[in-house]
């Protein structure tokens, strides 16, 4: 009997609680305030997985205090897209959303009315944002939607190099074999062959060297650290490591996937692959493996020629000194073309939609004041590198120095990402700021020197497609991305096939025709229109 009573009691309580749960509604009409009179806001940041709890960031706490707000942060470090879909469709968004393109232009046009047009608020409460727009007009252009609204604010981080990809060759191997650094494709071929056939690393085994390796090639286009940089040898300036093949030449938008110079590069890569000079796993490994392999074993390197962001990042501290960064290669000794290189300055230094505000925010002025605070030159510097005191030293004469990591085992890059929002934050580093960078950025700068003359020779006006800066209408965007997906399915599959199995000469014409049938010319036309528009806006 007792048992039965207990059970029924349990059941009733269970059901009762569930009905009660659903009845606590917490919406009030008035903006909440903290005890010291600050406005309470909700915020969401899509942060890097390494980044520590944002509530422990001193600079953020101070910025909130100065703006008179107290933000309850929700931190998202993975699967943002899935979370976002439900959130936007439910119309259930926090007051402030921070993150690199966390809300895209497509979202703005799809969910009209969910986000606040910041234009009037900027005039009223955001002198720092105003100043940024005045100093760098392109920042205003990339924040403005086609109808003139400003929903998301951008970032500009100034210090990043002109390219994400550098090419490295093992200088010690060259010295062991008495070879010179290659300056063109033919010499590269000879060098790689020597790496393959001889015991370049001097460990007694002539067969454990991988002459050349590159990062895994995706299915949706090219990216950093991939052999597309060889297109530079033909005088072509690609952006962002290649992307979906769009590039500009003399003010005209083209796509290298149907360009004869691309055919030339693929033919060369196929020649290397046939002779087993490219890692057999280049097309099957993942990025982790690509990185592990280059770290070799102890003092013994395994990879001869490869691509990366920075030497210690690519090879680890032990092997890094063996490698050297080399200048862009020519096609052959007699070539008179000025070699170029992938131009990534825009991709690396600019970002769109870094912060936006919900239109349901109860106290928009306070929210705007906070956003304005982030674009203060000193705060922006801390958004990027960490708090003053722990990550940045104030030298007292208006100059600043980025400090090395507190934990000696950690590298500066990881330290930066651990301590602050870094590249994921809304920020503006003005050209007048005097800041000495950390060792990692300095060495990136040094290793870019070999490529610098080629990059400086690039005509950024007419030979660089400002991919990051173009704003498309919804229809154009949808039409283009459908075609691009199809184009990439065909082109990327063929790239792997042609490099590994050859046959590009036979199949090229049919392939180009197929690409045009899918709709490449239409996409080029659309992009050209926006590119011309952008140029006229910038003048």
């Amino acid at each position: 009997m007792k048992k039965k009573k207990l059970l029924s009691l349990l059941l009733t309580t269970c059901l009762a609680t569930t009905t009660l749960v659903a009845c606590s509604d917490k919406t009030s009409k008035e903006p909440e305030k903290t005890e010291d009179g600050r406005v309470v806001l909700t915020g969401l940041i899509t942060k890097h997985p390494l980044t520590k709890d944002v509530n422990k960031m001193e600079w953020l706490e101070e910025a909130e205090k100065r703006a008179g707000v107290d933000i309850k942060w929700e931190e998202v470090s993975a699967d943002w897209d899935q979370k976002k879909g439900a959130m936007l469709a439910g119309g259930d968004i926090p007051d402030i959303i921070v993150g690199p393109n966390a809300i895209t232009d497509a979202d703005f046009s799809k969910f009209k009315g969910l986000f606040e047009d910041l234009t009037p608020l900027i005039e009223e409460h955001a002198p720092n944002v105003q100043k940024m727009f005045d100093e760098k007009s392109e920042l205003k252009v990339i924040s403005t939607q086609l109808n003139g609204e400003i929903y998301g604010l951008p970032k500009y981080q100034r210090y990043w190099p002109n390219t994400g990809t550098r090419q490295f060759i093992n200088q010690q191997w060259l010295d062991n074999l008495g070879l010179k650094q290659p300056t063109n494709w033919d010499e590269l071929y000879e060098v790689l062959k020597a790496f393959k056939e001889e015991d370049a690393n001097g460990n007694g085994d002539p067969n454990d060297e991988i002459p050349m390796d590159f990062a895994p090639v995706g299915t949706g286009g090219f990216g950093f650290f991939q052999p597309t940089v060889l297109l530079g040898s033909t005088g072509m300036t690609i952006v962002g490591g290649g992307g979906q093949g769009y590039f500009a030449e003399d003010g005209e938008v083209k796509n290298f996937f149907v360009d004869d110079r691309y055919k030339q590069v693929v033919t060369f890569l196929n020649k290397l692959y046939k002779e087993k000079l490219i890692s057999a796993e280049a097309f099957t490994q993942d990025y982790t493996k690509y990185q592990s392999v280059a770290r070799g074993e102890g003092e013994t390197a395994t990879v001869g020629y490869t691509y990366g962001w920075e030497l210690t990042d690519r090879f680890g501290n032990e092997l890094a000194p063996q490698y050297a960064s080399i200048a862009p290669l020519k096609v052959d000794a007699s070539s008179t073309v000025q070699p170029s290189w992938t131009y990534d300055y825009n991709v690396l230094n600019y970002g769109v939609n870094m912060v936006q505000m919900s239109s349901k925010t109860k106290n928009k002025d306070a929210a705007m004041k906070f956003i304005n605070e982030l674009y203060d030159p000193k705060v922006s510097m801390q958004v990027l590198f960490g708090s003053l005191g722990t990550n940045i030293k104030d030298n007292g004469d208006d100059t600043y120095t980025v400090l090395p990591p507190e934990d000696e085992k950690m590298d500066p890059g990881t330290w930066k990402w651990t301590s602050t929002w870094a590249d994921n934050g809304p920020l503006y580093i003005s050209d007048s700021l005097k800041l000495t960078l950390g060792t990692d950025m300095q060495s990136v700068g040094k290793q870019t020197e070999a490529l610098q003359s080629a990059l400086d020779a690039v005509d950024t006006e007419n030979d660089v497609l400002p991919d990051t800066f173009l704003k498309y209408t919804e229809e154009d965007n949808n039409a283009m991305s459908l075609v691009n997906t199809e184009l990439m399915n065909l082109a990327m599959a063929n790239f792997s096939k042609w490099v590994t199995k050859g046959g590009i000469d036979k199949e090229w014409d049919a392939y180009v025709e197929k690409m045009n049938q899918i709709g490449l010319p239409g996409n080029l036309e659309i992009t050209q229109k926006y590119y011309d528009d952008y140029k006229s806006k910038m003048e």
Binding site: L50, A86, F224
Partner: protein, 297 residues
Amino acid sequence: MGFLKTKNKSELIFDIIIYTVCALVFLVIAYPLYFVIIASVSDSTLVSTGKVLLFPKGFSLFGYQEIFQDSRIWIGYRNTMIYALGGTFVNLLFTLPAAYALSRQEFRARRPLMFFFVFTMFFNGGLIPTYLLMKDLSMIDTMWVFIFNPVTVNVFNLIITRTFFESTIPNEMYEAAIMDGCNHFKFFTKIVLPLSKAVISVIGLYYLVWHWNDFFTGLIYIRDYSLQPLQIVLRDILISNQVFAEGAGSTGSGYAQRYADQVKYGVIIVSTLPILVVYPFLQKYFEKGVMIGSVKG
């Protein structure tokens, strides 16, 4: 080798083949598990270059250290325990009585109701409508969303249980119980449930494992980190130890590089071990129960 005498040649060959096939199947299933265990204590670089096959190399417990010194993991464990036990209890609370009612021949609305249940197996509103429903019920960002959600009654489990009741509880038993003054409620609690241990433990385990592995609910509906289940916490630990292909001034830590995979494999073990421990205790019912009710006879 006494058994050899009792068998003729063809039987012997047959046995050998059977044993070899069984051994192969065992290896195919067991080796990956074993590999995960040794990879979780070996040097990641050696693992990813394929040098670790049978024994751990470059032994270190860094991965586990990284996982267990993260205070969030204990919160995650606690939450998952609550959601799994509470959720499973509620699942059974709804599924068993419903299955009993649907199994009774004299229940008129049985067929149309069953149709409604089965219909939802194939068609549902999808993520966004469900999200809106949860929002209107004010269940977003509360622990209840883990316990009351569209999967509270899993139709597949409901059918298994219903078929079990239909095929193992004879109608005569109900008639006898009526004679002794039982009503449906009493008959269900006093007679049906004690006779259904097998099916209860089977669907209980199904529900338990589902709650244990449930990652999506936390991802979509929960914003307060202190409510997140273990799976979300483990995923966060895992990705903060990955090597990032972003390159470009993001991270390039050789430090993460060395241990990335260790954490990955460690996470697999940490998340599956508790459930693996539960299984042997339920296994005797499981073997009996899983096919029960699949055949009427």
